[in-house]
């Protein structure tokens, strides 16, 4: 059952990007980038047990972000990169501030969700601090690497996969080590980081369907 839901979430990410792109074209890609980035932020608070592996759930939308960055780069060139980075950074900072404010509210006594929120957001406060920074670094590295790879090899599918193989490992490891620095042992953090990285490879392959369909649209025209 868990595996099925996991696959549904991957397909939902692709569907989201595709639908908003169909409705609003270029602007749709930017808006879907913001939505998927927000999903990635919230899902980073959960470690799930899927396919007998312990993984951070934010890997699903995170690969979606990488794919959209690639599509924007391939279709519209690199002039929009600065805007994208700033917009995502603003999004993450606003979300961090809002989650911090949310945590400080004194909850009603009869309420149980507030206790759960406290256990999720307050317990994992390091994610609120580190997520915007690590995502910013990750996006910068994806954009730089994509420019280099696209200038060497025109096959976008190989470029996307190579980018994930290079940047994915660094991102997942740094994120897991910093986010669970005093919550889990270093060994367990690295273990979760590597599991997350490994599961990211098939997710990237599934997501490449989206790249193909959107890039092919240009050829048909």
């Amino acid at each position: 059952m868990e595996e099925l839901i996991f696959i549904i979430l991957i397909l939902l990410t692709i569907l989201t990007t595709f639908c908003i792109y169909k409705i609003l074209d270029k602007r749709g890609l930017y808006f879907s980038l913001v939505i998927i980035n927000l999903l990635s932020y919230i899902l980073s608070f959960k470690i799930a047990y899927v396919f007998k592996m312990n993984i951070n759930l934010n890997i699903i939308p995170l690969i979606g972000i990488m794919i959209i960055l690639y599509i924007i780069n391939a279709k519209y060139g690199s002039k929009e990169n600065k805007n994208i980075i700033i917009i995502l950074l603003i999004t993450n900072i606003i979300t961090s501030c809002s989650l911090a404010v949310l945590n400080f509210f004194t909850p009603a006594i009869t309420e149980t969700i507030s206790i759960n929120m406290q256990a999720t957001f307050e317990h994992n406060y390091k994610i609120i601090i580190f997520y915007p920074l690590i995502t910013l670094l990750s996006e910068l590295s994806i954009i730089k690497l994509s420019q280099i790879l696209l200038s060497i090899n025109k096959n976008i599918l190989i470029c996307v996969l190579l980018t994930y193989i290079i940047t994915g490992l660094i991102y997942t490891l740094i994120f897991c080590i910093l986010s669970y620095i005093s919550t889990l042992t270093l060994y367990n953090s690295i273990f979760i980081g590597i599991s997350t990285y490994i599961i990211g490879i098939p997710i990237t392959l599934i997501n490449l369907i989206l790249v193909q369909s959107i890039i092919n649209k240009k050829v048909k025209r």
Binding site: M1, E2, I5, F6, I8, L9, L12, T16, I20, I23, L24, R27, Y30, F31, V34, I35, L38, L39, I42, L43, F45, K46, I47, A48, Y49, V50, N54, L57, I86, I87, I90, T91, I94, T95, C97, S98, L99, V101, L102, F105, T106, P107, A108, I109, T110, E111, T112, I113, S114, I115, N116, M117, A119, T120, H123, N124, Y180, T183, L184, I192
Partner: protein, 220 residues
Amino acid sequence: MRNLILIFAEMIICYISLIILYKKYKTDGIYVYGIIFTFISCIMSLKKIDIMNVDIPIGFATTTSIIVGGNLITQKRGLDELKTYIILILLTVLISSCFLNLSGLIEVSKYNEIANKSFDNIFKYNLRVYIALIVSLIGSCFISSKIYYSLKKLQNQVLFCNVFSIIIVELFENLLFVLIAYLFEYKIVNLILCIVIRYMIKTIIGTIGTIPIAILKKVN
């Protein structure tokens, strides 16, 4: 007192974000603003605080500022651009509620188990709140902009248009949200008190929302 200060802080974050995003990205900035704060209100509206012995869901400033954002679009671009804003809000609520509910159904890892289980408990079985949020946000955004546009044709004054549209639409928004989310769950007295208190707080926040609209009116 602490909660009141935090509501004020929430409002400041909302309106500063609106100003920054509009100054940097114009209309697209308001769309991004709508997406961010719709998503945040999906989480915020699940938490309740105690005001006068009544449990009241928070997210006062986030939801009100989304309506103010709709008014700003109407002020700057007219009613045509509002369609995209509403579509984006609808898509954001639908996608985020699907994602958050589904992710809550996946088995948790034994690492950091308490936090993982808490995550599941936040987002499971909150369908009523999400439906209430969708209906009240979209309905109020649409009606508020219509009222704002009609008032703007009568008298092109930001204060007059914004305050009147907020006063009318907040009543509608609170009635819809509270009735859909909490009818049969609260006692009738508490339900009425919840509507009245939310209406008062949100109307004040919405009225203060005139300031960012007035500031951004001058920006071309």
